[in-house]
Point group: D3
Chain length 318, copies 6
């Protein structure tokens, strides 16, 4: 097995120095050299209201310099378990949704073919669809979905069926996601009409609305996640707007009344042991995040997911 | 009965398009056409420290484009229950407190006379006084008051008795508010002296200081609200500084250590079934809210109040 | 002739009060009632880098409350010369460039058919193309083009030919703009290659690069504008990035080293007497303009253009 | 003669250390100890649109820590010429215009009675009126007035005659300012009506509109100032909105197309030799100045005025 | 006993008026006149990443104008119990760590020698070390340490042993702090390696990691603090990054997932009755706090600490 | 000769995509592969007031994605003339001035030894000293110095002789810079005392104070630069605070009244033909530049310098 990459040590080289790669890891272009591929997807062409998530990967990379090497609770040391590096950005085209989805799927498919798992920073939530097309090509995966919105609408502004409000309906229709192994956590906000959630509920998704979330608390939600997803392969997608906008204001469609970052951390840590095959953090929109605080949230969640994903990847071996 | 107005649908016309009326509803000038009148009161002449709430109505209207049509928990569909529209702004004069209070009272009295209930966006908290003069002209009302401050002081800077720190003392003195049917929630912050709360307590108001609030939790506070207010007519006033400044920084007199937006939502939802006759959201100060996040909180609370207010109005019929 | 609309007087009603229509004019939906139609085009689907101009119309309307009624230099009183009102926003679809261009052209064609001239606030610079399709349907028009960029590129990211970097190449190809009656003012910034300006120069456009601009000064540039455009019908398009980013930072593609706002004003005033048939102000991007200062620049330029456009419209009569 | 106060030396004690007094001078409460009294007037009750200048003195004090001891062009060393100190803030009441004007006049009258000249940081432009009542009690003074607005309107929102749009009309009416020895520099912006400037022009003020300003240039404007004001006592008032908002965005009523800070400095330096008896810098509004840059402009202009004012005061002796 | 100083009353003089001293108290230079000395330490030379805490004292003073006179829960009236004033800033040198630490220790030693207790606003966390050298010169003190980081590292960037990541290791080594009477609350964030916490744990400090914190809740943590610290002399140090960055974003090393301000207040109030001999609030970094909200948190915590510290000081008498 | 590196083409890959290297060039670690080495120096340990320039290289790299390939005026195509790449950051230590200066000199000496010329982004102005130690080791160089400050002071806060206010005094003393071939452009701002400029003037530097600058204008200043520097080797250093803070607010020591960015560009272009051997752009401080506009100025100036530097390097051959 080839080299295990190490992040630059912030007690030796200050965090503000050097090129801002994810986690201060090396930039590597050959997916065969990694087990976990950190990638950016700088694309928000699916956004229905406030664009800006296209700038997410840059700023998440920038803020990820705050991360260190070992998880302080689980004691997972991802860079000891796996070869992890920054594989750069997926190719994108701001003007062509289908062309870009194909490019992203192609880019990630090479990673998957090389035996690595992708962990990406978006981009808006439509980015998850081409990622799932690569990761779940061979069989549907379970889905752990943190979000304020179900993203299972059908179409916008006429017959536009590929937007950041529709990816998981498409993913179910395409057989990429098993709705009965899907759980959505934090759904809230006023709705267009009484049947907004019909697809999610009728397809068999487990929807933890924010009210139920607050009743259960994060520990019990973790139990529910584990029950729903089970032992099969699963993908985790984290839309930062699941978190309350006091903690993560820099996003396109904020909804007040969400969970805290600490609770988000508890829930992601609870994924330890699941057979994770990929993940993403989406909807960090730097133009609405002048302080960079939301990108720091995104970078920290990416590190949290990395820990459980690297452990899953290491367990599968290869 | 005339037309029930519908907000512009954000899945058909993007949220950023069009004139920013409250909730994307039509701008209507005849109060006879509505059951619930959404109005702005762009006035902060009662502010003792940081002015800026005069710009509140514009920015709350702007952010209210994020709202949709149906409440996702209570399933209340306010635009099915009532005729709701944007009635524009009350007339104001930044230089004359008494003249402006008379103008506001006149503007709202026409709404009340037409059989509609007002729901306003301030403006500083002094705005509530002229609103109450219109709404409670015939009999005192109960008061559900969310705030970090009791606003029952007597005078500032000499003998200035009409400021945003005094409206509810004046309202009790004028017989507009029944202090024994009044509850204040979230009061906190260092005080001028040991007797700051004497008026509130001696007049019979139920004061839920923030410490008691955290002991009880929002569900029990809702019970207490319902017990105090009872079945008579009641007015709800929401000062955004009741909420913690992490969630609502854009206000003139922030006090750390408040409740969350989710808790605020739970409490407002708990007003369902009260005989509400009007409401307001005040002290959103856009110059201190560059991200617009506090205005989004204000707009969402306005939608939450609208749901319970529309239901109350529909129940009374007419 | 029907009513001449007047803006709300800021010495009677404070500027921060009321719905933010353009110039505080009434919102009118029948184009037959106006001579000059102020419209918004909230659309930035042609943006190659930093999106956000979709939010331009709202914030330009907001800041246009600073405008008063009469031009202090030319003494033009546009609301005495013409019927001017806010006609609202053109219909847009963030996901479909051709569909939206058709909708915009349709919306503006109705205005033109009613005998009115359009003055719009964008939106990115691609918005000018569908506007020109409506305004110049019957014959090519001259073009006064203020900008840091020529916007005569051919395609981006493969074969995407309709972007904010290409509208005037398309407009010439479609016969909407007469390149020999076109002048571009302020072109600057590093270039992709030595032939970037080939289309503009070979088609016969008069390009005043920023260096020549600074040599000539605004007064002589005005002479050059008048010489090039001549007495035929002309359209004026103002990209705020023509102005130096110190004065107008809130835009997607800033280029340092531009002209000042005062110089911009001098040049727009110099259009007095031209046979103007429409105009636009584009590329104000509020997410990059937290202070609103660029939107104020946009609103003031819109008022400046309104003065010369209203005079031209009045002169043509009808 | 008592002690000449020295500012804290920034090469000995860092600029960010210590209490932020004006120019890092001592805080002195006895006006008898100074020749030039630097004061704050934290009051904006005359503001017709965007309040915030009440916070000006604090932030100007803060930014004045950037100032050093000697003028680099004129070589004036004000702290060698005069006893200069920070006399604190005038007493104010946000709710009572007449009461506060009386208090300010009283506060400044004590300074004048002690033989000192006041140099104040506002506050909005209404602050100049009570200052002039103290400084010009015995005879009218000439006025050097830098501003985008003439501030000679009559009344707002009905019959409110004391606002930041009216002080110099009142000052002429009260015999405090000699209009024939008054010059206004930089007037611009759209106007309410054709007769907006009637009072200024008919009373004999010399108005240098911005267009004439740009024709003449600052050096010739200085000549004109000196010609108009002559050798009698004169007061200088600098509204930061005279400067272009690119340089001074943090103000309540920005008008694009103004002069630069360098040009402002040239003009203030041109006052050397006039018999100055007081001055002010007004309309710095920190809520609209998140970077503090406008307060730095205000502090630097205050230092520029201090140099010419101290020299004038020293020349008069006493 | 000499005069008990009173803060300026905000119901008499607006909060925005006057020089911004701590709590609007008088600036006093003789430590013999006070029992509790409020001081600033404008110094961040120990910062490993984002500097800016050098500007903390100014902005904390500014925001402390929001404070009033009496604690609303404990009813402690610190200005009745003790003579409290603003003693100004400790002398600092941005270029010399050891020289500055000596100066700070000297400055505070005079305060201690005069019988007063210091309560300081930093500055970065290295400031606590020279403060402890003055306060704990004669015997080690217990330490109540609120923070996201243990600050017990050994060295950075080679052999730099005096940084904001090392003060409490040094303090233990120097015999200033008794590690067995030390408690750290809120420690979290990814770590450099598995032995990051070895010094803290092996020296006997009680470390309440954030996970344990959330299990226990603030009330039980208070019990633990009281158990660990006992009845001996103790010092309280509050790094604002212990609080979640949603509540206190303006700091150099934010770590998501912390406690709320309300919880922080509960814990500080729980120190009532301890034999406190000094305290500090550190790591407020205004360049990362454009809204001033973190400085308001800092000022409020300073007031909270003042209450329990003044009571302890009064109890000891003298 | 090895490969000529090309920047990523923004008409093929959007500017927001990919790792932000300088000018979107490859990151190369072997100095032997380049003729011009673009480097970062993330270090501000010499800052006397507002730190933050340590973050400059990251943000300048980020904004440099706006740059294209060819200069639009001079038509210089630097990537055709020379091998240009991003060599990463010099090693730094925030706690040790002399150690870091040695490291920077070592890092740059390797570049120089390989036959390349360095063009760096700071960092504060002290960074220029270790750069000059590498570049001018063998003989003194001429200096073109754009700045508001002379930076020829002797010491701060006692005997600290290596700060951002002293580098060019040290450079002359060390024989690195020939003061008679040195020109400083834009010097301004109040001064500590009458002899502040004694060293600069007595050593023979040509000082173009801002007043002379405005008299001469940039074209004549270019002539003066060329006359002073002559045909020998020269280094160009650009402190962004030479530019007016309206154009470049994000810097530690702003001084109002500077030149525009366009004028700066004209002057840098005027260096064409000089025998340039290195350059730097310093004092971009991102914490004071929330919009990134100052970093864009820095990146554009870096591109401007690159053009004239690459041409000089190509002319020397090798």
């Amino acid at each position: 097995m080839s080299q295990k990459f190490q992040p630059i040590d912030a007690s030796a080289v200050p965090r503000f120095a050097g090129l801002p790669t994810f986690m201060r890891l090396p930039h590597v272009t050959d997916p065969g050299l990694v087990d976990v591929a950190l990638i950016g997807v700088p694309w928000d062409a699916g956004t229905t209201n406030r664009a800006g998530a296209r700038h997410g990967p840059r700023e998440i990379r920038n803020q990820s310099s705050f991360m260190r090497a070992v998880h302080h609770v689980s004691r997972i040391a991802p860079y000891e378990l796996c070869r992890v590096a920054d594989l750069g950005d997926a190719p994108v085209n701001p003007f062509d949704i289908h062309d870009t989805m194909d490019r992203i799927t192609g880019f990630v498919s090479e990673i998957v073919a090389a035996g690595a798992v992708p962990l990406s920073a978006g981009g808006d939530h439509l980015c998850s669809l081409p990622l799932l097309r690569a990761v779940a090509r061979d069989r549907p995966v379970g889905l752990v979905h943190f979000d304020a919105h179900s993203d299972t609408n059908d179409a916008y502004f006429g017959d536009n069926r590929y937007t950041h409000g529709t990816p998981f309906r498409r993913a179910v229709e395409e057989g990429l996601v098993d709705p009965t192994r899907t759980i959505q956590i934090g759904i809230r906000g006023s709705i267009y009409g009484a049947d907004d959630m019909a697809f999610a509920e009728e397809s068999g998704m487990r929807v933890v609305y924010i009210e139920e979330y607050f009743e259960l608390g994060p520990a019990k939600v973790v139990e529910e996640i584990r029950r729903v997803v089970g032992s099969g392969p699963a993908y985790v997608t984290f839309d930062v707007d699941g978190i309350d906008p006091a903690f993560a204001p820099g996003t396109g469609t904020p909804e007040i009344g969400g969970y805290t970052t600490h609770e988000a951390q508890v829930m992601v840590r609870g994924l330890q042991g699941l057979d994770l095959v990929g993940g993403d953090v989406v909807e960090v929109a730097p133009p609405f995040d002048p302080s960079g605080g939301t990108a720091l949230v995104g970078a920290t969640l990416m590190f949290e997911i990395l820990c459980v994903l690297a452990e899953a990847r290491a367990k599968r071996g290869g």
